[in-house]
Symmetry: C2
Subunit: 658 residues, 2 copies
């Protein structure tokens, strides 16, 4: 019986091969195609790390030009500076002055948000923009500190030491964190691991930013109410509890002034929406609030009448802080943690902002190159009394609308800040804290994107969940909790896509040439006795078990169906066109399915395996030793023709025997 079955099998195979040879002409799957190992690894690496192929077209150049090109790639200023002229400078000057007027209040505000001396915020708007102008490749980005990362740094470092306990150590940890942020960002850029940022999906960022904006606004209750005591926690419950607990500290003077400022800022923002050409009004409004508030506080001696002010600001440029970096293992752990977390966050914001603005101008941004620029800027910043900087959305948008042409606008801003540091800093002493708080509140309101939440809910419920996890996690727990829970959920989703790939049964439509999912196209017809299955996605350890069970279930279903109409299932055709790769477990799965179907008397045929899959299947011996080369076809149509022919042969033989 064994030999008879063997004969039968051989016959079918032969007939199939025969037909295949005649009908298929030159169109066969090339089973001997195999790339050398080095080439395979190299092309995989290149795809993974250099998807944008940054050195495109360099191959053809002479060595000197190639070196210059590479240098220009890493130091973009060499590329644009020679072509720079007065025509562009006019635009950049205007944009630079505009963002400088925004940088002063924002710098002071965000430094206060991080419980740092306000002057650090100004320092951080001086050195980093200069460096970005040299190494950065975005023409629209304006460099500065950001609210979310400031609060994240503060809340992480406060687990180790608070600003009240030991202000010096607290500040040192900020510098150290910035140093590690820089190292980390540079390393990511150099090793081209920009794809880490890809794991922060848009939904995660939307939810995280919204939640962060929410808790930052809550933090401003301290400034708006003129309170002196507050919690170091950030979640809504602790904050509201502390606001209520210290209610005897509330100062009506601060509150009234705060409401005035808020109304002024909000109406300037509204104006911008109505008349986009007047964007500069809303751009310099924060600066005006600071100036007006300062003059007012000076006139009425605000600090003695319930309007706390910023206090002394030292004249002079950034002092060196390289000696203040602390590498004692006890504190370093916190600094590293704070640096990495805020570094990823800062990268995500900076790169996203750069990309979306570049897209409007039809320019290209190289994420990995940007990372190196951010990294250099933060390392140098940590040596010169700056804390973490990146390309914040609000400032960059203003820069863009003000008509910036090159990173030169950052240089202009930097020069403005330098002048302020050298001559005007003491004047900002009288800035009321409530002015800073209202500036932050208004900046943050725009980040809670209710419309985007609604859009997500409509289009994709799972994305909405991911977004809400980030939002609620940040608001009710901590920023790190919200972010990591949301990223975790996204990764689980990504893995689920991989673990449960779609399979479908194909039927022919439009004259038996085209094969499509019978569920999607109910008019698609299948051939009795032959089941065509399409597998999508790579086959490997995560989904091998699932696919085995799923294929067998398709076969069971088809057999049940066939019994009704008296047709035994004899062939299963697996369309591998969508299978981009296969690993050891995947090959094992195909082998198991093959054996399992063979025992039921069902023959397997493969169609359209891709290059990588063919390599693996040949190398592991599956195609040659188990399946037989004659059962690999280029198209589903070829496979069906061969199976039909073999079916007829075996039926007519069966009738002969009868």
């Amino acid at each position: 019986m064994g030999t008879e079955a063997g004969d039968h099998h051989r016959l079918r195979a032969l007939s199939a091969r025969h037909l295949h040879g005649v009908g298929g002409a030159a169109a066969e799957v090339n089973l001997s195609a195999r790339r050398p190992f080095a080439e395979k690894v190299w092309s995989d690496l290149a795809e993974t790390l250099f998807p944008d192929d940054p050195f495109r077209g360099f191959g053809a150049l002479p060595p000197a030009k190639r070196a210059l090109g590479t240098l220009k790639y890493f130091v973009p200023v060499l590329d644009w500076a020679p072509r720079y002229g007065l025509a562009k400078f006019k635009y950049d000057l205007l944009a630079g002055v505009t963002i400088a007027s925004l940088a002063i209040p924002q710098g002071i505000s965000y430094a206060r948000l991080a419980n740092l001396p306000p002057i650090i915020g100004l320092y951080s708007s001086f050195v980093p923009p200069l460096l970005y102008a040299v190494f950065g490749s975005s023409n629209n980005l304006a460099v500065g500190t950001v609210a979310a990362a400031s609060l994240l740094l503060a809340s992480t470092i406060e687990t180790e030491v608070t600003a009240e306990e030991n202000p010096e150590l607290y500040l040192q940890l900020f510098y150290t964190a910035a140093f590690f942020t820089g190292l980390f960002q540079t390393a990511l850029g150099v090793f081209r691991l920009g794809l880490i940022v890809d794991f922060l999906s848009r939904s995660t960022i939307t939810g995280f930013m919204g939640g962060t904006a929410m808790i930052i606004i809550l933090q401003q209750l301290k400034g708006l109410l003129g309170m002196r005591h507050f919690t170091t926690k950030t979640d809504i419950i602790s904050v509201l509890h502390s606001v209520y607990h210290y209610r005897h500290e509330w100062k009506w003077q601060s509150a009234v002034l705060g409401i005035c400022f808020l109304l002024f800022l909000l109406s300037s923002k509204h104006l911008r929406k109505k008349l986009p050409k007047l964007f500069w009004v809303s751009a310099i409004a924060p600066f005006m609030v600071v100036v007006i508030g300062g003059v007012f506080a000076f006139l009425v001696k605000g600090d003695e009448h319930g309007i706390p002010i910023v206090g002394n600001l030292k004249k002079g440029l950034n002092p060196l802080s390289i000696s203040q970096l602390t590498f004692q293992s006890r504190h370093m752990k916190t600094a590293v943690k704070a640096g990495l977390l805020s570094g990823i966050l800062a990268l995500a914001e900076g790169i996203a902002v750069g990309r979306s603005l570049a897209m409007v101008k039809n320019e290209q941004i190289d994420g990995n190159k940007e990372m190196i620029a951010f990294g250099i800027m933060n390392i140098a910043g940590s040596f010169t009394s700056c804390y973490l900087t990146t390309g914040p959305f609000s400032k960059s948008a203003v820069n863009f609308h003000a008509g910036c042409k090159t990173p030169m606008s950052n240089v202009v801003m930097s020069v403005c800040i330098m002048l302020v540091l050298l001559f005007l800093a003491p004047l900002f002493k009288y800035t009321p804290l409530v002015a800073l708080s209202s500036i932050i509140v208004v900046a943050m309101i725009g980040l809670i994107k209710v419309k985007e939440f609604c859009h997500l809910y409509k289009v994709d419920k799972f994305d909405f969940c991911i977004c809400m996890v980030a939002f609620l996690g940040v608001v009710f727990f901590t920023m790190v909790t919200g972010l990591s829970a949301s990223v975790g959920l996204s990764v689980v989703r990504a893995l689920l896509y991989v673990a449960r790939p779609t399979t479908c049964k194909l039927g022919s439509i439009a004259g038996s040439e085209t094969f499509r999912d019978v569920k999607q196209y109910p008019q698609a017809k299948s051939v009795p006795g032959i089941l065509v299955l399409q597998l999508g996605s790579p086959i490997y350890f995560v989904n091998a078990g699932y696919l085995r069970e799923r294929i067998l279930r398709w076969v069971d279903d088809e057999e049940d169906l066939g019994k009704g109409i008296g047709h035994d299932l004899q062939y299963v055709i697996l369309d591998l066109g969508g299978v981009t790769s296969v690993d050891n477990s995947g090959v094992g799965m195909l082998l198991e399915v093959h054996k399992s179907l063979e025992r039921r008397g069902i023959t397997i045929a493969l169609t359209n395996p891709r290059l990588e899959v063919t390599e693996k299947l040949v190398q592991s011996g599956y195609i040659r030793d188990v399946l037989g080369e004659e059962w690999v076809f280029l198209t589903v149509k070829d496979a069906i023709t061969a199976c039909r022919y073999a079916l007829q042969m075996s039926r007519s033989k069966g009738e002969d025997e009868v």
Copy 2:
């Protein structure tokens, strides 16, 4: 100019639609197909959690039969017991006695490996097999303790308390860990989360098992050399250092006896390879070693002459241990950690063994059902002085070869162990420790699969890396390190597949009906002015950025190529047949690419979007409002025909204008 371009665009679209309507006949992409939300969620959940569709065919049955079917599903003994008879029992009796003879030495050995009183090993071979016989669905699995999980439990629990410090608490933590293992396994089974086990790839398991076998063998140096002091660490360096450090404790008597036993066991194993029919010799060889060793140690008073023995074993069945479970938060954390880790490991081994043996007999194993059986068995075990049990490979293979027919062989083994516990336990007092060590060594040698390592190296270098990380991690660090590093690497690989999906340029072969990767089929021809790209895998946040850059690079390359031969690129056809799903970021990416290409004057067409993708693209407004329905085609051929037609139209119009 804007309106002119608009006109032009409209014309092209119209002509395409016209042609599409004529040529495509009934074959169009159904853009209005949309599944209700509930149906979508339900089908996704069913695919994720019930890939094997366990209640298949129940729908048609009357309620009473359906209930009985469900009961039989969860308690398989109801299914097979009524059909059980003497014919099968003869086989099960033989198999049961054989595995009982293996269970005694293995039980004692593995309990010693975990630094537990040896009698716990015998207890653990009594209750759990009985329960498995009721709830288990594998006919081949033999239940018992396993070496790897024993060592893992010991090394985890020893971070909290060592067996010497507080033997009672140590034992209690083992019971508690078993309890949590059981809870965890049951929960996984009930919530059908068996896919967690899928993340332990074959390569990870091969490497981990090999590494574990290695360190277990190293642990046996203590027994083989008759030493009294030893390290509690498991890594090779600590162990070898401690063996050298306590070299004055080495006993030549133990070593000589050990070598004799090893030679005996190895030759019995060799015999089995040569003459498979004599498998029972190697199956009872460990038992013989225990008996011979015991008699020898009794005769020469081994314990006084450098041959340490097991020591007192209490007569009697398992005492209840339910009151010994400890839920103090301090200790519980360790117990939970140990329980979960060893639980996953035990599941992976048990299910893999069950599946691979079932496959030989062409039976089916439901992984989730097995998890529930393992879970119940471990919960009940933790109440009756047993520690973690599963279906170990060695015992199950012996069971299989001895001809077992049903889980009844586990009952037979259980009865044998019961008799031993009731009457013979004290006799095993004289078992020399060196006998147990040699039994373990021989059992472990087979788990270091050098051939499999070589095979992996040959077929897949990355799989080989994953395997080696597990192996070296276990040998040089800890078991948890090795396992988690290897799983981490596998997951990174899975995510990389997802983050860097393959894209390729298609060309037509075999008469312009079939489109294939031009890299794989160099004879494939492309149409000038039209670029056909195939995207594989789902498009979502992880790879959206990459795909955008990759598509634009393909376009750049094609434009460079076109310049050479004087053909401008005018159309990009994206074949979405391999795209199984798309999320919010993915839709955003398509939109960005669309805008970017539009600015360059290139039109996009989509072909063959699948059901889920069509839904999302329609819902988000991309197809209707941005792309236009007329640019969605069923096949690449249709799309090319339409593009060619539009190209000709625009060219002839251009000539007219000239």
